[in-house]
Symmetry: C2
Subunit: 149 residues, 2 copies
């Protein structure tokens, strides 16, 4: 469905404004797909992002700063995100002995299993996101890179 029809706007002043509205609208649409998916699995999108980052560095621990820099959403408060994940038993935190300002975060066995459970359900989610061909997905991704400069 065209963005004009989605938000009932006859036309846009120019194509860049149309793109801006479309990006914001599409992000909202995306979140409507993603949030219930992760909620059913007992995670938020950001919590899953942190777990995936930790798995990517296994068996090394990852400190808060590195987590922040690798997150898709840069505005997450890592301290409070990790608090939630500790509550759920998916990660551990320890003060780094070589630099006591830093916190070492590690994935636990249950955290790893939760990630695997998410993986098993991914096909269900991605079925909704395959309206573009592989070539189109590559094209959009490259143009988004270009948009950000």
């Amino acid at each position: 469905m065209r963005i004009e029809d989605e938000i009932h706007q006859k036309n846009f002043k120019d194509d860049h404004r149309r793109l801006l509205a479309n990006l914001l609208f599409t992000n909202n649409w995306l979140n409507q797909q993603l949030m219930p998916f992760f909620k059913d699995l007992g995670l938020t999108l950001q919590q899953h992002n942190v777990l995936a980052i930790l798995r990517g560095q296994q068996p090394d621990p990852v400190c808060f700063g590195d987590i922040q820099n690798r997150m898709v959403d840069r505005n997450s408060n890592v301290t409070r995100l990790i608090d939630k994940l500790i509550e759920k038993g998916y990660v551990t935190r320890d003060i780094c002995q070589t630099n006591r300002r830093m916190i070492e975060v590690r994935l636990t066995e249950p955290g790893l299993r939760k990630l695997q459970q998410v993986d098993e359900n991914f096909p269900k989610l991605f079925a909704k996101l395959h309206n573009l061909t592989q070539e189109e997905a590559i094209l959009v991704s490259n143009l988004l890179d270009k948009l950000r400069g």
Copy 2:
């Protein structure tokens, strides 16, 4: 900058996952550009969206449901958004006399002037968003429409 470098991820499992990460990351980047712009003008992105919708329907009033349906961000709580805009003196609300469940929202003179002030500042904002050519902007927009199905 490529999304791989932005979030320090060597590679993605497939191009659709790369696109997903890129869309979410780009939206965050966009918000980092938009939020301070609107904040300087004393508005939020959603408040501005509502004002623009009201201007589009002038001189007719718009009810909450229609505002909701035309908003880029569908999850906004229109009641509380309008409360804020009334506080600022940019809109009025009246009970619709033909259907007393509905609320008629109208732009005020100060609301219109605020919109004009935003318009005057738009070129400053859009300068950051012109890394794509017009053709590329059209292309991405059309592919986003296709992505949503």
